[in-house]
């Protein structure tokens, strides 16, 4: 791939704060944004904690009709898009529409709206033959989340390739990887790429309860997300969006844009094992890491920081630790590794992009965010997970990984575009 792809704009809406500044402060202070669910009465459920955003869509700049038309996940994506475009310094009117694309990740689409609309049209689950006349007029847009990509495209007038990438919990990495591919192959010069999910709704909480994937640590919500800790017992559901302006390197340089990072390598593999289970050996994630580094023409020893999937389920943290050892060799024991899910929860398809944003900020500030709530590591998780406190650390190259339902294992490598000259 001769055309190189860089990130020139960032937008983040994550639990604990709207915008990049609030997000980074939360991470650097090691604070957690997990709490008892406030969106609905969660008392009947096994897991009653979540990482919610205090988000008022009209205060964030959306009009009343936009609010009515869009599911919360779309709203988060649109606001993050506006932040990213403003941050990049690009004037949308100056973009070539045909050369501008959209690649947006979402695992579960408009779950909140679908849950609420279903309840109404079925009259509380009474009727199998639902009454469609009670549904919102934009119900189809909630069913098919490509409507989210359309909303984002309309924000910037993009008329190039556009799609939603929906690979479960790796969507946020895969959407950025796909966006980079569009630029790399020459189908676009600028791609608005990122991911969003807003799944904190009774149906989501119930379905993760049913497989005991989420934590039942309801008496201590602030410390409920405990990746790599011996006492971890499931993830904390979250929500959020992160959106990036991706640009072809020369396109960015020609306008003197600030560059956060190059999307230097990306790869994904499937474990073909189980829809929710993981084989402990981590072979497929290790392969994704190996190929992503290879595409970036980097060696495992070049990796300065690993942003882990670190969901806080027993099987994930061991699987991932094995994958790091398999792919990075001895370097796995030296490189700092952390999971920001300990602070902002697991926002399913969105988290991969939110973690990429954290990774880019780590490169900007040369600070590695910590893994909060990590007091006593699982003996099988024996790497340096940066417990509790952020760490100043020279960071030029980051590996960010994800793993999810359906068996997807993805890896993105971020680097500085001028690394060859150094």
């Amino acid at each position: 791939m001769s055309r190189r792809v860089v990130v020139t704009g960032l937008g983040v809406l994550a639990p604990g704060g709207i915008g990049v500044k609030a997000f980074w402060e939360l991470l650097c202070e090691g604070r957690t944004a997990t709490r008892r669910i406030t969106f609905f009465d969660a008392s009947p459920f096994r897991s009653q904690v979540a990482a919610e955003i205090d988000f008022d869509p009209e205060a964030a700049g959306l009009g009343p009709q936009e609010v009515r038309r869009m599911d919360r996940a779309a709203q988060l994506a649109v606001v993050a898009t506006r932040q990213a475009v403003a941050d990049s310094g690009i004037e949308p009117a100056g973009l070539d529409p045909a050369r501008t694309g959209v690649s947006l990740g979402s695992a579960v689409g408009a779950t909140m709206s679908l849950d609420q609309e279903y309840r109404v049209v079925s009259d509380g689950g009474r009727d199998w033959l639902v009454d469609h006349r009670y549904a919102v007029p934009h119900l189809y847009g909630h069913f098919v989340p490509s409507s989210f990509a359309a909303e984002v495209a309309w924000q910037v007038g993009a008329e190039g390739p556009a799609a939603v990438i929906s690979t479960g919990c790796t969507s946020g990495l895969d959407a950025v990887g796909h966006g980079a591919e569009l630029i790399g192959e020459g189908s676009a010069d600028v791609v608005i790429a990122g991911a969003t999910d807003a799944p904190i709704s009774p149906i989501t909480v119930a379905c993760f309860d049913a497989v005991k994937a989420t934590t039942p640590r309801n008496d201590d919500p602030e410390h409920a997300s405990r990746p790599f800790d011996a006492s971890r017992n499931g993830f904390v559901l979250g929500e959020g969006a992160a959106v990036f302006v991706l640009e072809e390197l020369q396109h960015a340089r020609a306008r003197g844009a600030r560059v956060y990072a190059e999307i230097a390598g990306y790869a994904t593999r499937s474990n073909a094992f189980h829809m929710t289970g993981l084989r402990p050996d981590g072979v497929e994630m290790a392969e994704a890491i190996r190929v992503a580094l290879d595409r970036a023409r980097l060696d495992p020893r070049d990796v300065d920081y690993v942003n882990a999937h670190g969901s806080g389920t027993k099987q994930n943290d061991r699987h991932e630790t094995a994958a790091f050892k398999r792919s990075l060799g001895e370097h796995a024991r030296r490189v700092p590794i952390s999971s920001i899910k300990s602070m902002v929860g697991h926002s399913l398809g969105a988290i991969g992009s939110i973690e990429l944003a954290a990774s880019m900020l780590a490169m900007t500030h040369h600070v590695v965010p910590p893994t909060a709530n990590l007091h006593e590591p699982d003996p099988e998780c024996d790497l340096d997970y940066v417990p509790l406190v952020a760490r100043p650390h020279h960071t030029d190259t980051v590996l960010s990984v994800g793993s999810g339902f359906g068996g997807f294992q993805s890896a993105v490598v971020l680097a500085r575009p001028d690394r060859d000259a150094a």
């Binding site: 509380g124 069913f143 556009a162 499937s270 929710t276 359906g406 997807f408």
Partner: protein
Amino acid sequence: MNRVVVTGLGVVAPNGLGAAAYWDNTLAGRGGIGPVRRFDATGYPATLAGEVPGFAAEEHLPGRLLPQTDHMTRLALVAADWALADAGLAADAGTDLSIGVVTASSSGGFEFGQRELQNLWAKGGEHVSAYQSFAWFYAVNTGQISIRHGLRGPSGVVVSDQAGGLDAVGQARRQIRQGARAVVSGGVDGSLCPWGWAAQLSTGRLSTATDPARAYLPFDEAADGHVYGEGGAILVLEDAAAARRRGARSYGEVAGYGAAFDPRPGSGRPPALRRAVEAALADAGATPGEVDVVFADGAAVPELDDAEAAALAAVFGPYGVPVTAPKTMTGRLSSGAGGLDLAAALLSMRDAVVPPTTNVVPAPRHALDLVGSPRALPVRTALVLARGAGGFNSAVLLRAG
């Protein structure tokens, strides 16, 4: 850049279960649209659909898969079984990370989802199935196909409404060009349940006709919405050199792909379908004159038919290329449509015959050479189009070889 060919087809269509039945019925002009049978639709404004006939999942799939899968995932699994068998391709168990799965999805397993939503709201959260977390989400077909066949290569899921089936194939081709040996692609979709029906009705684009022969009439003066259908096709895409080495038959090459998004509503700018077509042609290094047939999107909404006919006239000239839309026999299959039209186009190449667009008398204003009955024609190059709600436009150019 390495060439990518199709070496296997698996078809689950409203007018035929299996590629052979689908193709026989399609050439004979036998449609699969009729009154909805899977739920009582008589109280709704639209009552017709394309349902896959004669599908008994337990005849094809192990019992343990049935409680955890939606109807449309079962269709997808069977289509993938057939496509891989047709290609004669299997993963080397446990060691092979070179075969992936990239499918399109629009609605996930929403019939399954409706049942679980009912359990949640009528009985309580503890009654929601342990399978709900993955049975309804958009990645379910890719995940289940990869597990069933041990396919551990690069995989993905594309959502772009009805354009998705072609976008998935475009993405699968990218993965092969980056080193995958083969990718199982295409799409099978369907949410024929009252909850899915409510969503379809909200578009205002479902035909309310009750006569299956008069309900879905793209490019006709009487075009007044479409019929929704379930099903689609799964295709095995393979690196051409790898396919040749193992002596596999090629149905044809995925020679070009292009995608473009429509301008923001109200902007006054031209729709993007023409650019998608031109991108696919340029990608393949083909001229419009080489194209032997176009498989149209065929929205059957007057302004969308106008836009498609205008794009075709702009690229090929008025009446400049034979155009067909055999989906008049199946209904619009959402993200299943692109794969099924690709299958039809590849079978047209094999048999040198273009399938018909049934029931339609094309409006003169469209200036289309619409194929109304099977037309014997050597097909070396075929263009397949698809559009998704919201403004997604995609085009794939297939070449013999």
